[in-house]
């Protein structure tokens, strides 16, 4: 505002007093604009950025063990890890166990350590009970009497790994890695490796759904774009219709259609096309069908918007230069719809990556995508660190895709309807 005022001001330059007044009023305008944006800014900050940041931070912050077992955590920080820790660490452990047992926090530390080493929960709780009363033996002997696991390096290494304040435990686990007793990164045992596989599956399902949406949506968009306006509006309405039905309802409708004694199977049986009911639900096929159905409008709308803007004269020009209709379509028309294809694919793909309800309801156990596991850890086992680490994995994959898209096509070319 200030610059505008300055450029329209008549030459010669106005006196200093006026200039100051102008600048002041300009600044006031800016403040007023900023104040108008403030509510939205704080709303986004409070409802979006802070909670998501706080959630994602749980993948790396690890304060529990250091808070509940402070003395032993401090002792282990300068333990070289090659042999069993010194007596001081054993003594600190006994003190911490007594204090934590008194405070009733031992179980929380046990929960965290149990993520890493199965059996740690009861190790802490029973050892806490055993050393609760002062003993005549040395702390080392008292702990070894309570449980021989205190004589294993891995037990102490696990406490050191969880000693906070930050950890890479969850992030490593999200890509099927872990730290061993020597603090070196190693692969998780094959029969416990799951997440790389799940990420691959998530990308694959999203890719197949995107291609299927493109194959189905392109002709539909083309058809609508070539209708007279009134009829096009009607068809667009039909495309949009599913939007006004809840996602859950649409998904459950597929269960009714596809199940063993469902509508589709009954129809096929009564027509004599099949003699045994087909298995169409709780498998990958059902996931593809339901997801394509839900996501199709996101492909059709951007395609339609782009196609609508393409002038028919180009194809006519191609025909007048001797191109067959197919060549004109392939070499002249399709390239002009590329921004629409890219926008549609991006929208469908990124949404498909995060799909949770649809695969959970119509998919089998080996069709679950990464969001299923995020929900599994967040609400079922209440392991928020793991849920956050998997969320980071999903977010990273999505952002990487976005970056690739920007590199190849450019975000400025993104055209939605």
């Amino acid at each position: 505002m200030a610059t505008v005022a300055a450029t329209v001001a008549p030459q010669p330059r106005p006196p200093a007093g006026l200039r100051r007044a102008l600048r002041r009023s300009g600044r006031r305008e800016q403040w007023r604009a900023a104040l108008l944006v403030m509510p939205l800014f704080f709303f986004l900050l409070a409802s979006f950025i802070v909670p998501i940041g706080a959630m994602l931070a749980r993948a790396i912050v690890d304060p529990d063990v250091a808070r509940i077992l402070p003395r032993v955590s401090a002792e282990l920080r300068h333990w070289d890890g090659r042999e069993l820790p010194p007596d001081a660490a054993y003594a600190a452990m006994v003190d911490d166990l007594r204090a934590a047992r008194e405070a009733g926090t031992l179980a929380s530390a046990g929960t965290r350590l149990n993520y890493d080493v199965a059996g740690f929960r009861s190790l802490l709780v029973t050892s806490g009970r055993r050393v609760a009363d002062p003993t005549a033996t040395s702390p080392r002997q008292a702990l070894l009497d309570a449980d021989p696991k205190w004589g294993e390096r891995e037990t102490w290494a696990a406490i050191r790994r969880a000693g906070g304040p930050a950890t890479d435990f969850y992030l490593l686990a999200a890509v099927d890695l872990r730290r061993d007793a020597d603090n070196a990164i190693a692969a998780a045992p094959a029969n416990e490796s799951v997440f790389r596989n799940v990420l691959g599956r998530t990308l694959w399902i999203a890719g197949v759904v995107t291609l299927a949406c493109l194959a189905l949506g392109y002709p539909v968009a083309l058809f609508i774009a070539r209708q007279p306006p009134q009829r096009a509006a009607l068809f667009l309405f039909l495309v949009l219709l599913p939007f006004w039905t809840s996602l859950l309802v649409r998904t459950v409708a597929w269960v009714v259609l596809l199940q063993r004694e469902g509508i589709l199977n009954n129809l096929l049986l009564s027509l004599g096309i099949v003699h045994e009911p087909l298995r169409m639900i709780f498998n990958r096929f059902a996931v593809y069908v339901a997801m394509v159905h839900v996501l199709l409008p996101f492909m059709v709308l951007p395609l339609y918007a782009v196609m609508k803007a393409i002038s028919p004269t180009y194809e006519r020009a191609a025909a007048s230069l001797g191109a067959t209709p197919f060549t004109a379509f392939r070499r002249v028309y399709v390239p002009q719809t590329l921004p629409g294809i890219a926008a549609g694919c991006l929208m469908v793909f990124i949404q498909a990556l995060g799909y949770y309800i649809t695969p959970a309801l119509v998919g089998g156990a080996d069709d679950q995508m990464i969001s299923y596991f995020i929900a599994f850890y967040a609400s079922r086992t209440v392991n928020w660190g793991m849920a956050a680490a998997l969320s980071i994995m999903l977010l990273t994959a999505t952002l990487a895709l976005y970056a690739v898209y920007h590199r190849m096509i450019g975000l400025d070319k993104l055209r939605m309807s």
Binding site: A118, G119, N191, E261, F376, T381, V382
Partner: protein, 348 residues
């Protein structure tokens, strides 16, 4: 305008009423809601208030030890007696969320079935995971055991199990011939876990997984699966309400217990004890199963329960004979590891 004024007045009045501190709070009992709490209201809550004159309020919850932890640690606990699942009983007791029970006041430990006795809680109901099938579809030569559950040659069709390692691994081992008393001993070893997953491998292509208790009856009804594991109460409900002919195989059923606990530091401790004494009177307990098919926990109640209802309960002696008690200590320790293993196995 007039109406608006009155609305405002009403809101202000409500706010004032809410602001008055609940200094002398009624005994608050919390249970699982739904059909179950309706049955409890008839069998326990109403007669308790009539007989003892104690005023009580009821609430419902969905479980989760975090809820109880927040109440105690937040210092604003307004619950007195809560019904909890066995895992919440263990965790909460370790963390000191509950009052320790005085068993002498509850009639001594011998009055109860052994699994119902805990430092912090007294068993409320017993229910089971059982094998179920549709009696209208499998008419003669019915399955009799978990081993038959695996026999897809003789009884073709899919099978459904609850998603997750808990209960699934136990069922696999019992199907493989492990006796109930050895199940957790076996599962405690790597070889035992291996054995359970090997057994599951045989059935994997035919397995459908359920996650909510309402799903197995639907899967049976739609013909999606021929057999499933399921909470016994759900089968009784489907047969009663939807006129189904689902059958239960009780052999090697897996049972567990929900317990009553008293929240730490409650101001209504005396009333809470009165309540526990009332609901653990066999003469009162016998009234619950006819309303909802869950077993009750005092030994003497079994003989008093309606003879038509008894065979539907997890506590019927012939149903208990071959049953496996789900070991929550084992699962508390191993669930993280075995969840991971199970998820990896499922995804293979």
């Amino acid at each position: 305008m007039q109406a608006k004024f009155w609305n405002l007045g009403a809101i202000a009045l409500c706010a004032a009423a809410l602001a008055i501190p609940a200094s002398a709070r009624d005994l608050t009992v919390v249970s699982w809601g739904g059909d179950y709490q309706d049955a409890q209201r008839d069998a326990y809550f109403k007669p308790f208030m009539q007989t003892t004159g104690v005023k009580m309020a009821e609430e419902s919850w969905d479980g989760g030890v975090g809820t109880l932890r927040a109440k105690i640690q937040g210092g604003s606990n307004n619950w007195d007696v809560v019904q909890v699942e066995s895992e919440e009983l263990l965790l909460g007791c370790e963390e000191g969320l509950y009052e320790k029970l005085d068993w002498a006041k509850l009639g001594g430990k011998d009055k109860y079935m052994p699994d119902a006795v805990n430092d912090c809680g007294v068993g409320a109901i017993v229910y089971s995971f059982v094998l179920a099938y549709d009696g209208d579809k499998i008419k003669s030569d019915a399955p009799k055991s978990w081993a038959d559950f695996w026999n897809t040659q003789k009884w073709p069709g899919k099978r459904a199990l609850r998603k997750g390692p808990k209960t699934t691994l136990e069922i696999a081992l019992m199907a493989d011939g492990v006796a109930p008393k050895d199940v957790y001993k076996t599962l405690g070893t790597d070889a035992g876990v291996e054995r359970a997953f090997k057994k599951l491998d045989q059935l994997k292509a035919n397995l459908v997984w359920w996650e909510k208790g309402s799903q197995p009856p639907q899967l049976l009804a739609s013909g999606e699966v021929a057999m499933t594991d399921v909470y016994n109460g759900r089968i009784a409900a489907a047969n009663a309400k939807e006129k189904k002919n689902f059958k239960i195989v009780w052999t090697n059923n897996l049972y567990t217990i929900d317990s009553w606990v008293v929240m730490k530091g409650t101001p209504n401790k005396a009333d809470a004890e009165k309540y526990l004494l009332f609901v653990n009177d066999p003469n009162n307990q016998k009234n619950l199963p006819p309303k909802i098919p869950y077993g009750v926990t005092t030994k003497a109640a079994t003989a008093l329960i309606d003879k038509n209802v008894l065979p539907n309960l997890a506590t019927a002696p012939e149903n208990l004979a071959s049953a496996l008690s789900i070991n929550d200590k084992f699962w508390l320790e191993n669930l993280d590891k075995l969840n991971q293993r199970f998820n990896a196995w499922v995804a293979k």
